[in-house]
């Protein structure tokens, strides 16, 4: 339907995750889960897709003896997000 829009970002959950990561330095999995209100399994799948595309970086560590997953956006992800937003604007205001 919207050919120029990056299909990877044109999904509500993936777009929400990337939008959050555009605002923060890095976020942990729980924060993303609470912010998006999506199921953990679903988030994991979408994170994997974004990671495979090189849009985000996932780091696993331990925090207070508990496993902790932190996610941050990569330069490629920032570029993809900016292109996506610019293309959205073109759809909304095609004359510009």
């Amino acid at each position: 339907m919207y050919k120029e829009l990056d299909p990877l970002l044109h999904s509500q959950l993936r777009l929400s995750i990337v939008s959050i990561l555009m605002t923060v330095d890095k976020a942990d999995f729980i924060f993303i889960k609470e912010s998006t209100k999506a199921a953990a399994g679903n988030i994991s799948i979408q994170i994997k897709k974004l990671q495979d595309a090189g849009y985000i970086k996932v780091e696993k560590s331990f925090k207070n003896n508990y496993p902790n997953t932190t996610i941050s956006i990569t330069k490629k992800g920032i570029k993809a997000f900016e292109d996506y937003v610019n293309n959205l604007k073109k759809y909304i205001h095609p004359q510009r």
Partner: protein
């Protein structure tokens, strides 16, 4: 949230909403604004009384509280970062870094170069502070802080027209306008939002 068939308008709305919600989670609660506002108010008011009543106390003595308050602020942020489960926003990082650089420079100017700066000391302090307050106001989209910053910038030039001992009084007035009032309003706004 697996939906992919949504319009560009909905998509932009989702981005704006997500970014706005994420930013809101990190806004400071106004505590430090109030803390610094009250501190500056007390220090400068005591300096005014020391100067105008010719008291036999060093006028720089109350200012020794500034470095102590800076240490307290540093510890406050360290503890807050450790306790907080929330990630740091890029905006928050910028505001914090600017605050540290500004604070360090004000302390250097105030303690090492006050003689060289003479009567321009307080105007310089107020102009530099106003930059930070205005930027914070714009960044967190909080009008009272923005207005406070603009007023602070204007107040900064008043000392050039008045006697030196009144400079301290101007600074205490400025602290009310740019820190205490916005701090109280910010606290109230946050409280209402959390109800």
């Amino acid at each position: 949230m697996e939906e992919t068939n949504f319009t560009p308008e909905e998509s932009l709305l989702l981005i704006a909403k997500t970014i706005e919600e994420t930013k809101r989670k990190f806004e400071e609660n106004g505590y430090l604004l109030l803390f610094w506002g009250i501190l500056i108010f007390i220090i400068t008011l005591s300096q005014f009384f020391i100067a105008s009543l010719n008291l036999n106390i060093g006028i720089g003595l109350p200012a020794l509280l500034y470095p102590l308050a800076a240490i307290y602020t540093f510890i406050f942020f360290q503890k807050k970062d450790k306790r907080s489960k929330l990630p740091k926003t890029i905006l928050g990082n910028i505001i914090q870094a600017m605050g540290i650089v500004l604070g360090a420079n004000l302390l250097i100017l105030g303690f090492l170069f006050r003689t060289q700066l003479g009567l321009a000391l307080i105007p310089i302090f107020l102009v530099l502070l106003s930059f930070w307050v205005i930027i914070c106001g714009v960044a967190i989209k909080f009008k009272p802080l923005l207005i406070g910053g603009i007023l602070l910038n204007l107040i900064a030039f008043i000392p050039f027209f008045i006697e030196w001992q009144y400079h301290f009084l101007i600074m205490s007035f400025a602290s009310v306008v740019a820190f205490i009032i916005p701090g109280i309003l910010f606290n109230n706004a946050q409280r209402e939002e959390n109800v």
